[in-house]
Amino acid sequence: MDHASPLERILRGVALTVVVVFFMFPLVWILLMSFQTNETILRSPPSLVFQPTLDNYRALLGGRLVGAGSTLQVSYVQNLMNSVILSVSSVSLALLLGVPAAYAFARFRFRGSEDIAFTLLSFRFAPPLLVLLPLALYFQQIGLANTYIGLIWVYQLIVLPLILWIVRGYFEDISPDVEYAYRLAGHSWFAAFRKIALPLAGPGIAAAGLLAFIFAWNNFVFALVLASADKQPVTVGALAFITASGIQFGQIAAAIVLSNAPTLLLALYAQRHLVEGLSLGAVKG
């Protein structure tokens, strides 16, 4: 490949350019849109020349959208907060539950271990609505409807298997002798877990946690079915007010940017962990 002909190099360059344009253009375009007024957005043909404005963001963060027929009180900031609360707590809980379980599956071959692990993994692939619809009824009855706790629990369905399987792979890569050495030095099992296994699997736990956070943040269907207005995250919130305001396209764009920003920044910041987590999660385990 080092002796690529000039033609080949040009073709590769063109191909890569097309790839980058296809995957980056929508993000850039929406970002630009979010700084425009409806007037410039509605121009045809679309133009890149416009006077940037922060009004859309101001309206969103201030919580008032003026649209056709009604002034929409949006609690977009509340939606963002809900996303943060739901994602952070469900990932924290999943780490708390999933890391010890992952350790158990990695270290011990106990009766039924593979079956339990398979069951947990198969939750990842079950159609969410299968359980969500009956769950919506149950939640109302047991008072979990429209509570953070109920949602965080349901979020475990996506984040827990993910964490379990990625972290398990990392634990399996640590030689058990290293932990035995620590225990033989006189430390308890728990100390060995905390001081040896956890730090050594740290990068894996970080990768799994990041990935789980992104999945939780991006989730739509759980909150669509189970959350009320005051608990719903940005994914549902953004969809909800596109039609309700229906009009202020700049604000919709700004809402998309705001709700996308955390995951995109996270992806840029921790891309190596994420790539590894993705590959491990899907391929290696």
């Binding site: 939640f139 109302q140 009855q141 079915v225 009320s228």
Partner: protein, 480 residues
């Protein structure tokens, strides 16, 4: 309160002054608008409290489930008066319309006690009522101990009262003597024409008075007006596509959705020759001069286009045209309104109505208190406040429509609106057959329309398939 202020307010209470005049008068006395509203509220409270124990449930807290809507805005703006009047507290969840009814279903299907009162349309009560989720309100309306003398249930337009009452028998007539009052009408919509006066003038097109003219006018407007299409109607895959202009016109041709046989069996009625002719005309109109994204169009898009000058007219809810004429729209102040009878042979329009109503959850633990709220929210006082101070159109009470301030305000800013209403109101009612499969059938109807517009299926064939499918579903549900 000074003596002169007191006089003004009393004059208003005795009905000699409209609210606008009252507040103007108070303004002349140096009372600010906000202060004036407070004064009026207090005065009303005193007056209303005089002959009914409004404070019977003081201290109770109610929870409402509300749709994002101007009616909701008006109600929320006036909630302070309710709190003051009754000493009750009210909290609420507001959802955008796209997910609102899913929320209601989720809450009620599970028997949630969270909400006491919620917004609904009449069609939904055909599901909620038989399911046992909502309460028959006759029990309260007819109980003098629980209903204020001034409530005047008869003041509510009779057609609306009838349309929100159903005996629960599939195919049963609405408003029959044995009907249960499943909800209280709150605000309603008539489906007529709202049009862009400037565009009509420029294209030299007259306001259409029947379907043929509409198809023609829309096509001409579509050609002649740059950057706008001819006519906006809804097209999303939903019951909401069927019930506005479409069904109003359909009913005007004397067509029905279902036949009800003597023994109460239901069967599809939409594959008659007349129906096929009408469908063909409707489909052609959309293909020729409808919005390009028609199949995604809900009332938001229909209204948005009219307000932004992207469409020349709409055949949809009159209040949508009303809102698009308000501030913040490119076409504000340039819209006109006209009644519309699709059938050239028809004597009057037959708009299918959409009635935003208030219903009481059967799972409420505070039904009496909830009724106190319903009375207030659907009462004349709040109706007048909403209609004159906020955008609470169309009000459901005859007394509000009789209010001169309200009429003149409409007449001045919304030319033709009052006429449109008055001409079509007598024929306004729900033209659907009340039955529990309403959403199954209308959704499939909308999907069939989409396929016809996309030329995936010829109109005749599509309707025959639809009718067959409807019949099968009715049979499956033991209705056919």
């Amino acid at each position: 309160m000074s003596r002169r202020e007191q006089d003004l307010v009393d004059a208003w209470l005795r009905g000699r002054l409209d609210r606008r005049g009252l507040i103007k008068g108070l303004g002349a006395l140096g009372v600010s608008a906000a202060g004036a509203n407070a004064l009026v509220g207090m005065a009303t409270t005193r007056a209303m409290a005089a002959d009914f124990d409004w404070r019977a449930h003081a201290g109770t807290s109610l929870r409402l489930l509300l749709n994002q809507h101007p009616y909701t805005d008006a109600m929320i703006a006036n909630l302070g008066a309710f709190r003051e009047l009754t000493g009750m507290d009210v909290t609420f969840d507001v959802f955008p319309e796209d997910v609102y009814f899913d929320r209601v279903t989720a809450a009620l299907a599970s028997g949630s006690r969270e909400y006491d009162v919620f917004m609904t349309g009449a069609y939904m009560t055909w599901t909620y009522g038989p399911a046992g989720w909502i309460t028959d309100l006759n029990e309260w309306i007819n109980d003098p101990a629980k209903t204020a003398p001034a409530y005047a249930w008869d003041d509510v337009l009779p057609g609306l009262r009838a349309s929100t009452a159903w005996n629960g028998v599939p195919g049963g007539e609405l408003g029959s003597p044995d009907a249960k009052q499943w909800c209280i009408p709150w605000g309603y919509e008539l489906n007529n024409v709202s049009y862009n006066r400037g565009m009509f003038d420029r294209a030299g097109v007259a306001v259409p008075t029947n379907m043929d003219e509409m198809v023609e006018a829309a096509a001409k407007l579509n050609r002649d007006i740059d950057g706008a299409y001819g006519v906006g109607v809804r097209g999303s895959r939903s019951w909401a596509t069927i019930h506005p202009g479409f069904l109003s016109a359909y009913a005007n041709f004397g067509q029905r959705d279902l036949n009800v046989s003597a023994d109460g069996k239901l069967s599809a009625a939409m594959n008659t020759p007349e129906s096929k002719a009408f469908h063909a005309q409707w489909v052609r109109m959309i293909q020729e001069s409808g919005p390009r994204d028609w199949s995604n169009y809900t009332w938001y898009q229909v209204g948005q286009d009219l307000g932004a000058g992207a469409s020349a007219m709409i055949f949809d809810a009159d209040i949508l045209g009303y809102f698009m004429n308000g501030e913040g729209n490119a076409m504000a102040g340039q819209l006109g309104y006209a009644p519309f009878a699709a059938n050239p042979a028809a004597s009057a329009p037959t708009p299918n109505v959409w009635i935003w109503s208030l219903a009481m959850s059967n799972f409420s633990q505070r039904k009496d208190a909830a009724w106190w709220f319903l009375q207030w929210a659907s009462g004349a006082e709040h109706g007048l406040f909403g209609a004159t101070e906020m955008d609470f159109v169309n009000p459901v009470r005859q007394s509000v429509w009789a209010d001169e301030g309200f009429r003149s305000r409409l007449e001045n800013s919304y030319p033709g609106y009052v006429n449109q209403h008055d001409v079509s109101a007598p024929g306004a009612q729900i033209y659907f057959t009340a039955q529990p499969l309403f959403f199954d059938l209308t959704t499939e109807w909308a999907a069939t329309l989409q396929r016809m517009v996309a030329n995936e299926v010829p109109v005749d064939e599509g309707l025959d398939q639809l009718a067959a499918s409807v019949d099968r579903q009715l049979r499956d549900a033991d209705l056919g």
